[in-house]
Symmetry: C2
Subunit: 186 residues, 2 copies
DNA sequence: ACCTGAACACCGTTCAAGT
DNA sequence: ACCTGAACACCGTTCAAGT
């Protein structure tokens, strides 16, 4: 986890991890099947932190629609705040998360938390009816894309570190646009 | 370009490229400053192909709102159809596109094409007023996120190759949700 | 059970040297 | 101008051998 923060996704290396543990280059193979398994463990840790941030947001707001909007902003904030970690969570280093049960489970759980909030919005007639999973997919795609584009420097080009307030404003604006698309038509 | 298609982003290697060109491992350094420059050239080629696909879509539809929706679907279709290429276009291998003028220019041009279509929608009162660039950012984030999640196997988990018709349906549904958020309020 | 040391087949990159 | 050959400092991974 330190490695990915300090050296980026490309800097995560079995040999360097072993070095930091004060152990030989072959030792990691007693604990991880291969490099992908190591990276999967780092990604899992990232999803756990993201899940905690999201739970915190849900706890902080009572109105489900406010929760939904805050979730979107928090998601982007997390990604931009931990770009390397976020990259590892979604990058090609772990081509299929289902090969790593722990990772797959926590990633699925994160998504399900979003689905729940959306369902709560529907229950109070704040969002249109329909499969909440489908609405959640759209919401996830939007925030994920936003996060990725910011991390990549396509949005908010004041690279390398856009101000948190700018991120917040952008996220709030974009999330609101989608929310209006999801609202129950009056 | 062949390499990225056959071996994925991780398979793009200066030495292998040299091998395919029937040339020594050091020869590429006469043509590219380093590996990043090589990858940037591949990414640029990808943006050019994406731009061509988008121009084709615009040509095919007269109504700007129809163009916008078709652009979203075409974007996702391109990404899912050329996942490795797409990854290289947005991945961490090229950390800052501005370091590669050709790449930066064609990427910017692609985005501007989207802005134009959105402005056309606004001109005919089909979309809400406001900075078209800001609406384009939201639209881009949505389709980019959708593409990324599908490529990563988070959506349409019938991996590794989701049926084109499923991609189409998903993209159309999600794009429509955002479009309704962007519409001029009646 | 956990680790080491050495080895193998790869990288990206540099640099003198060739034509 | 373009390329080669050899070298350097790195990888991931394996495997016999040690405790």
């Amino acid at each position: 986890v330190d490695l990915v923060r300090e050296a980026g996704p490309a800097g995560v290396t079995l040999r360097e991890a072993a070095r930091r543990a004060g152990v030989s280059s072959a030792a990691p193979y007693r604990h991880f099947a291969d490099k992908e398994a190591l990276v999967a463990a780092v990604a899992e840790e990232g999803f756990r932190a993201l899940g905690a941030a999201m739970a915190e947001v849900v706890r902080k707001h009572r109105d489900p629609l406010a929760q939904l909007e805050a979730l979107g902003v928090a998601y982007v904030r997390f990604a931009v705040g931990h770009p390397s970690h976020y990259r590892v969570m979604f990058g090609p280093e772990v081509p299929d998360k289902r090969a790593h049960p722990g990772l797959h489970e926590v990633a699925t759980g994160t998504f399900n938390a979003l689905v729940s909030v959306i369902a709560a919005c529907q229950a109070t007639d704040r969002l249109r009816a329909g499969d909440p999973t489908e609405l959640a997919e759209a919401a996830w795609a939007l925030t994920h894309g936003l996060a990725d584009l910011v991390i990549d420097g396509h949005l908010l080009r004041g690279r390398p570190a856009p101000a948190p307030s700018d991120v917040e404003r952008l996220a709030r604006r974009v999330v609101r646009l989608l929310r209006e698309g999801l609202e129950s038509r009056s």
